[in-house]
């Protein structure tokens, strides 16, 4: 097993707003190693993007990260540093962000500046993180554009984002993220909104670049089909917590947590789904300001145990040798 590059320990993210506290991430723990793809799955609002923003130092007031550790190993064999110790605008954080920890943002339409040429986006990253001269940066940028499959790079370098199609814009985002050979790449819904044939191209591209430049990829998505095709391990999130973590084959074949089971059954074409009517999860995700005592999933859970699930928050513990889950059904103390 290769070396761990990034480790999250009990990370919390909360937003103190005038209307109340939104506890977006409530203790997320995972680690990701070199050459590995970890997928973080969940419905909208479950905190999957927020947890990665914390690692990028992108949580802005009124948001803050009140607790937890994010340990990042910059070079092989080096000691880890706790990214959360750095202020988001500090020199150390700015050196890491975009350089060694990079991100492909959702919606390339809004993530690229409409008033700057495509080349500027690449030049900016290279200028901040390398010592290359002007001409070298131009050459490196063109090389990056070629690597991500944009033909005619020297001409395209001078064009604006609106002159590119959705798939091409996503390729540019990837080029920007990979400009400085990051160790960890967060891909936040990299293919949402793209057509299937373009989606296949982009996923292939990320895989190919991961093999070539050796990095850890954290793939954030709500699309279980994309997860099944690309991930090595899967973390399922619900209401700011990871409820289950296992390798991809295990989680699709034998999900443990009731939420994961229900989610798998509601996805068309998954091994657990029936051909006729789709299984649905009762109720809906509670509004962000609402506080659910005990296990966050208990109001919608089919295996709800009164007196336990609505009182005690389940710990995130191994259910067997392959799966870690946060559910009272599997904890020894309350074993069913």
């Amino acid at each position: 097993m290769s070396e761990t590059v990034l480790e999250m320990k009990e990370v919390h993210v909360r937003y103190d707003t005038d209307d109340g506290v939104v506890h977006a991430v409530r203790g997320v723990t995972y680690s990701v190693s070199l050459d590995e793809t970890l997928a973080i799955v969940g419905e909208s609002g479950c905190g999957k993007s927020q947890s990665s923003f914390a690692a990028m130092g992108l949580i802005q007031p009124p948001g803050r990260v009140p607790a937890g550790e994010i340990l990042f190993r910059e070079k092989p064999g080096a000691d880890t540093v706790n990214v959360l110790k750095f202020h988001r605008n500090s020199r150390q954080m700015r050196r890491l962000r975009g350089g060694k920890i990079a991100m492909i943002f959702q919606e390339p339409m809004t993530a690229l500046s409409p008033v700057h040429r495509i080349g500027m986006h690449l030049d900016e990253v290279l200028c901040l993180h390398t010592n290359l001269g002007k001409q070298e940066r131009f050459e490196r940028a063109c090389q990056l554009l070629t690597d991500v499959g944009i033909p005619d790079a020297e001409k395209r370098y001078h064009q604006y984002s609106f002159e590119f199609s959705g798939g091409m814009r996503q390729r540019i985002m990837i080029a920007v993220a990979l400009a400085c050979n990051p160790r960890v790449l967060f891909a936040d819904e990299p293919t949402t909104g793209l057509d299937v044939t373009i989606q296949a191209q982009i996923l292939e591209l990320i895989k190919k670049l991961q093999r070539e430049s050796r990095m850890a990829v954290v793939l954030i998505t709500h699309d279980l089909a994309v997860v099944a095709e690309t991930a090595d391990r899967v973390a399922v999130m619900y209401l700011g917590r990871i409820v289950e973590l296992a390798d991809v084959d295990t989680i699709f074949a034998t999900p443990k947590h009731p939420y994961t089971i229900a989610l798998m059954k509601s996805v068309i074409g998954s091994p657990l789904a029936d051909d006729g009517r789709l299984q649905v999860i009762r109720g809906s995700v509670p509004p962000p300001l609402e506080h659910v005592p005990g296990c966050p999933f208990h109001p919608r859970c089919d295996s709800f145990m009164p007196g336990v699930c609505d009182k005690v928050i389940p710990e995130f513990l191994p259910a067997d040798e392959k799966t870690i889950t946060a559910c009272h059904l599997y904890s020894k103390k309350n074993g069913n």
Partner: protein, 345 residues
């Protein structure tokens, strides 16, 4: 009995550039020569990438757009057939109640200044259905059908989640007992677990009211679940249509094959080699000659850039590809760079 809907050689072209006299010089061929048949109580899935003209086809069938050519034969009551393409908007009005639409984005298809009651009531009011009290009772009944409790009657759309809004849209579409509903990507904006709820609801309502859906979607797994028959579009043309089993288990057209291969399956055991299509959908104002798919086609032949494929009937399904035409099928393979190639996924 004639089918509910029969679309023949539909063309929707938009003028792009005009000459000195204001006559169109070049056209954006959004829909070109599309033929479809939809029977009562049947779901036809219309799939394709963005820009392939599937939404435009749906809009043209409802005459939200005027087609340039072709006929749209609509027969709501099983007796009289109307050609929607040749009618004026005024003549269409009495027929409108038989055809409804469910839109893609439930956040923009509901008026934020109207309450749920007003939204669902509006079609009844416009068509003068029943008395005021009867209409109100009908609204309660419709919301119940769509799985919403009537305590929401006086709330505004902003108070609802995406899935609930889509239920309001469905209740509104059902208000006048239509026989045809055009659904334009009804679940693509929703989370998976909510998607399942809405799809189940739509299937129940279809059985209950014998509805026919023209289900426009880009998600092949959703179409596989809900459709009886499937039509595949590419760059404004129909490339293949047949039963769900034919299209998904034994696709004939190279585009259908690569589309199915590119679509990810939520099953990690099924990871396999897949055909990755290179390039993108062509610009509809500047389509390649001959078969529109030939620049990306892994099986293109030397005749493909010249000859427009005709509709060929094979085992009850229609394919438009020269590979299946007697005259051309033995042409030599076209040597081209950048077309699809097999890859290990």
């Amino acid at each position: 009995m004639p089918p509910l809907l029969e679309v023949k050689n539909l063309r929707v072209w938009f003028p792009k550039e005009r000459n000195f006299f204001g006559n169109p010089r070049t056209w954006v061929k959004a829909v070109d020569d599309v033929c479809l048949t939809l029977r009562r109580g049947e779901t036809l899935g219309l799939v394709g990438e963005s820009g392939s003209g599937k939404t435009t086809t749906g809009f043209a069938i409802l005459r939200a757009l005027t087609p340039r050519e072709g006929s749209i034969l609509f027969c709501p009551d099983g007796r009289k057939t109307h050609d929607l393409a040749a009618m004026t908007q005024k003549q269409l009005r009495p027929l409108r109640r038989h055809m409804q639409m469910i839109f893609q984005d439930p956040f923009s298809s509901l008026n934020p200044r109207m309450t749920v009651q007003q939204i669902v009531l509006e079609p009844l009011k416009v068509n003068g259905e029943g008395s005021a009290q009867e209409r109100k009772d009908r609204v309660r009944e419709l919301l119940g059908e769509a799985g919403l409790s009537d305590q929401f009657l006086n709330r505004y759309p902003h108070a609802f989640s995406g899935g609930q809004r889509q239920r309001i849209v469905i209740a509104r579409a059902l208000a006048l007992n239509p026989s045809l509903i055009v659904c334009d990507e009804p679940v693509s904006a929703l989370d998976v677990s909510v998607q399942a709820q809405i799809l189940n609801l739509m299937m129940d309502l279809k059985d209950k009211y014998n509805l026919a859906y023209l289900f426009v979607a880009h998600d092949l797994e959703v179409v596989r679940h809900i459709a009886d028959r499937v039509a595949v579009m590419y760059a404004g043309r129909l490339v293949e249509d047949g039963t769900k089993k034919q299209i998904f288990d034994d696709p004939l057209h190279p585009y259908t094959r690569s589309l199915l291969a590119a679509s990810p399956k939520p099953d990690p055991t099924g990871r396999r080699s897949r055909i990755v299509l290179h390039g993108e959908v062509p610009d509809p104002s500047n389509l390649p000659g001959g078969c529109v798919f030939h620049p990306r086609c892994p099986r293109a032949m030397t005749c493909c850039p010249e000859v427009v494929p005709a509709q060929t009937l094979i085992d009850g399904r229609n394919v438009r590809c020269l590979l299946y035409e007697e005259r051309y099928k033995d042409c030599p393979k076209l040597q081209q760079t950048g077309a699809a190639e097999g890859k290990i996924g």
